[in-house]
């Protein structure tokens, strides 16, 4: 428990679907979109933990839940606060000494204090910066909110340092510019600088390179790795791109329709996938080796991802899974450890080992 930064248990988020007056009156039960339907995982201190999956699988929602940008429907997320933040939190809210449940309703001051510890980097580098604010103002905002730096000069110093840290030099030039005056990659660096400026210990990165040119991705990813080493950060890295995940992730959790189907160290999950869905994802990754281009690849999955409002019964993948069995249609498979640290939720593997 001591090196666990975040322990998530049965995290759930259901979005209610708007209903007309007639439906309400007819007594039919309300429908929900089950964006996140009970996921559990741990993030070890100093690791990069990835949530991987296609659009609509719930990974972005999960990230937002951890970052306390949306309210959860259920579950627990025990987070170990850093020492400086711990002082701002009243005793009663702490469990096991240092842990706070991120999914609880917390008083405003605690919420604000947590922002010093948990930050988020968004996917869209243009959208996440207010186009009418200069880079300087964007970076100054968090400082002003948390009263960091009592004079303009002090804040200026901090901002310059933050910009240098993300390799936007000379910082004096960048503070005056507006987002539309800099490139996508540079904007994302600003977003990263903004996330770092409050010195968090956990950063949620929601597809930070998906909207960037491929040539820049490596730079940004490298920057994130450098910052992690420099600041001893933990990341929750969300992506749909297995190639990126392979490059940067320590451990991966593969999500499908709101649930984690496979979880484990990234080399194991990617090179030796157990879940049919993971297998399909891995085989869909573009092949970098030209000599293999004549090899016909079959992606072992059929159909399209169903709507999260109409989740299939039993194992969610069963309508598309080439290996579907009768039990798959009826019962949800439990999460089983097939190797040390490598878990899978699939009836194919359940008989092979003992439940974990």
């Amino acid at each position: 428990m001591s090196n666990v930064k975040l322990e998530v248990n049965d995290l759930r988020k259901y979005f209610p679907i708007r209903r007309g007056l007639i439906e309400v009156l007819s007594g039919k039960p309300p429908k929900y979109v089950r964006a996140v339907d009970g996921i559990s995982f741990e993030v070890i201190e100093g690791e990069i933990f990835c949530l991987v999956g296609e659009s609509g699988c719930g990974k972005t929602t999960a990230g937002r839940l951890i970052a306390r940008l949306i309210e959860a429907t259920g579950g627990k997320a025990l987070y170990r606060v850093s020492r400086n933040v711990k002082e701002m939190i009243p005793e009663g809210l702490l469990t096991n000494g240092d842990y706070v449940n991120l999914l609880e309703k917390l008083p405003g001051s605690v919420d604000k204090a947590l922002r010093l510890d948990i930050q988020i980097i968004f996917q869209d580098p243009y959208g996440s910066l207010n186009p009418r604010m200069t880079i300087g103002s964007v970076l100054e905002e968090p400082l002003i909110i948390h009263s960091i730096g009592s004079t303009k000069e002090e804040r200026q110093e901090i901002i310059y340092r933050a910009l240098s840290e993300v390799k936007l030099n000379p910082p004096e030039e960048f503070v005056e510019r507006y987002p539309h005056m800099i490139s996508g990659g540079q904007r994302q660096r600003v977003a990263i600088a903004r996330a770092m400026i409050l010195n968090p210990s956990l950063v949620v990165a929601d597809e930070p390179v998906s909207m960037l040119d491929v040539s820049i991705r490596a730079e940004i990813l490298q920057l994130m790795l450098d910052l992690k080493a420099l600041r001893n950060l933990s990341y929750i890295f969300i992506t749909h791109d297995l190639a990126v995940a392979n490059y940067i992730c320590g451990r991966i959790a593969v999500m499908y329709l709101g649930k984690i189907v496979e979880l484990g160290p990234s080399d194991k999950v990617i090179n030796n996938p157990k879940h049919p869905y993971t297998i399909a994802l891995v085989s869909a990754v573009p092949e970098p080796d030209p000599s293999n281009r004549t090899k016909i690849r079959e992606v072992p999955i059929k159909g399209e991802i169903p709507s999260a409002a109409a989740i299939p019964s039993g194992c969610r993948l069963h309508p598309r899974c080439p290996y579907a069995m009768d039990i798959c249609k009826v019962k949800e498979p439990p999460m089983i450890e097939v190797e040390p640290g490598h878990q899978v939720a699939c009836w194919l593997h359940t008989k092979e080992s003992t439940p974990s």
Binding site: A67, L69, G108, D111, K112, R115, L116, Q119, I120, F122, D124, G127, S128, L129, N130, P131, R132, T134, G136, S137, E141, P142, I145, H146, A191, R194, L198
Partner: protein, 492 residues
């Protein structure tokens, strides 16, 4: 960047946009002129202007219904106001039967072919103790030689006072004067006519008209001599002493009222319209801006709350605006204004009425802006950078003021520009309709003109409406220029 410099940025950007178009340039110029005149007028405005405008004493010297002085270029026969300060005139001094007589000979040159509107002698003199029985007698010697004796002849008893306070604006003795001067026309003279139109008989040429079977008067230009005999019974007092007290007195003047007056003429009470119109500028602007600011402020707050917080309050505000949009404004406004006019009898009635009118206007006009602000707020609220601001710990207040409000500035400006003339026009419209609040606005002048004037008094009827229209035009042009800012799709 501080809040102020941020706001300045938005404003200067807007100003640049406005000035880039013809309508904006014109509007800007008009606006500057408008504000300049208003500020100037506001500084010069006498403290009790409302009462002062209404009360007659200030205007008594002015001719009634007089066209402006430049109307002579339009063919009007204009007689200027001519005033003689008798304190500076050296009278002839004589003694007749124990009375000291000061004789003032004033030559009045009537050059235009028209009758002056009136004449007035005013005296406010403190004479030495012991002076008794002051008498003021005025004769007129007309250019054709006819002498009208004692058109004014008053006695002032000074037994208990040394103050001679005279305000003689009617030639009381005119009837007998004319009768005695035109003995051969006595049969044909109409006493009533002389009494009602004394000026015609003082400044006119009388002749008998065979066709009309009565005495006709035609204007008689030329040099008129006013012989003013100011006499006193004074024991042991030197004439020089009395003369000195006259020279040192507050007022002693002869005024011959002209037929033209001032820059913009006068109305039926003799009020200087130029003054009324001038002081109307800041009043009009104040009315317009007051209502516009209030309605805009309420609209912005309602829209922000509605869009940002949603829920019940959102529904409530939306439904309220919806319902109010169906209620007819003008009838209710007229009803409220009239009801108060007929039932409220307090001293501050003009203020109360104006407040009521403003209240109704404000209540009915905040809705439009609220809906627009609400929809803008909703769309901005869902932007990613707002979420990002929340992620770094921004409070609702901060998000509203730093991220949402700056983007609303064009809409706020447009709302202010659109609503300002609205209030001015409505207030004027109500006045024209006949619901008088008594406050000296342009609408008030226009209403009085409509009620008490005729087309021949164009200088009374046209300028107030014209000014209202110009002010309105300024804001309409401004709004036109702002449209490009608010509706980017309309940009060419």
């Amino acid at each position: 960047m501080s809040v102020l410099s941020k706001m300045y940025e938005s404003w200067s950007w807007i100003r640049k946009e406005i000035l880039s178009q013809v309508s904006g340039k014109v509007a800007f110029v008009l606006l500057i002129v408008l504000i300049a005149i208003s500020v100037y007028a506001a500084i010069l405005m006498p403290p009790d202007y409302t009462k002062y405008w209404d009360v007659g004493s200030k205007w008594v010297d002015n001719p009634y219904n007089a066209p402006p002085e430049w109307a002579s270029y339009l063919g009007y026969t204009c007689i200027p106001q001519t005033s003689y300060d008798l304190r500076t005139v050296k009278p002839g001094i004589s003694e007749v039967t124990g009375r000291v007589v000061f004789t003032y000979n004033i030559t009045y040159d009537l050059s235009a072919r028209d009758y002056p509107q009136g004449l007035r002698i005013r005296a406010n003199i403190v004479v030495p103790q012991g002076v008794r029985n002051a008498r003021m007698r005025v004769d007129v010697i007309k250019p054709d030689g006819v002498r009208l004796p004692a058109i004014i002849d008053v006695y002032v008893d000074l037994a208990n006072t040394s103050l001679i306070d005279l305000n003689l604006d009617k030639p009381e003795g005119i009837v007998t004067a004319v009768m005695s001067a035109y003995r051969d026309l006595v049969r044909f003279l109409s006493v009533e006519d002389i009494y009602i139109f004394p000026m015609k008989y003082i400044f006119g040429n009388l002749s008998y008209s065979e066709t009309l079977k009565k005495v006709e008067t035609t204007p008689l230009p030329g040099k008129y001599v006013f012989v003013i005999d100011f006499s006193f019974r004074a024991f042991n007092i030197q004439p020089q002493d009395i003369l000195r007290s006259i020279e040192k007195s507050k007022e002693f003047s002869l005024l011959i009222k002209g037929t033209c007056y001032g820059l913009m003429g006068t109305d039926y009470k003799g009020r200087d319209l130029a003054e009324g119109l001038f002081y109307g500028f800041p009043i009009a602007l104040a009315i317009g801006l007051l209502v516009a600011l209030a309605a805009t402020a309420i609209g912005v707050v309602a829209g922000l709350v509605s869009g940002y917080y949603g829920g019940f309050i959102d529904e409530l505000i939306q439904r309220t605006v919806d319902v109010m949009g169906s209620i007819p404004l003008l009838p209710i406004l007229i009803l409220v204004a009239q009801s108060i006019a007929k039932t409220y009898m307090g001293e501050d009635k003009p203020i109360v009425m104006l407040t009521a009118i403003f209240a109704v206007l404000i209540i009915f006009s905040w809705g439009g802006l609220a809906i627009i602000i609400r929809s803008m707020t909703l769309s901005i609220k869902s932007e990613l950078y707002v979420e990002a601001a929340k992620a770094v710990g921004a409070s609702n207040l901060r998000i509203i003021s730093k991220h949402i409000l700056p983007q609303l500035v064009p809409y706020i400006a447009a709302s202010l520009v659109y609503s300002t003339p609205n209030a001015i026009l409505t207030e004027a419209g109500l006045s024209v309709l006949g619901i008088r609040h008594g406050f000296p606005t342009w609408g008030n002048i226009l209403a009085e003109a409509r009620q008490n004037g005729t087309i021949s008094q164009w200088w009374w009827i046209l300028p107030p409406g014209f000014l209202i229209a110009i002010v309105s035009l300024t804001f309409v042009l401004l709004g036109l220029a702002l449209e490009k800012v608010v509706e980017p799709k309309l940009r060419r």
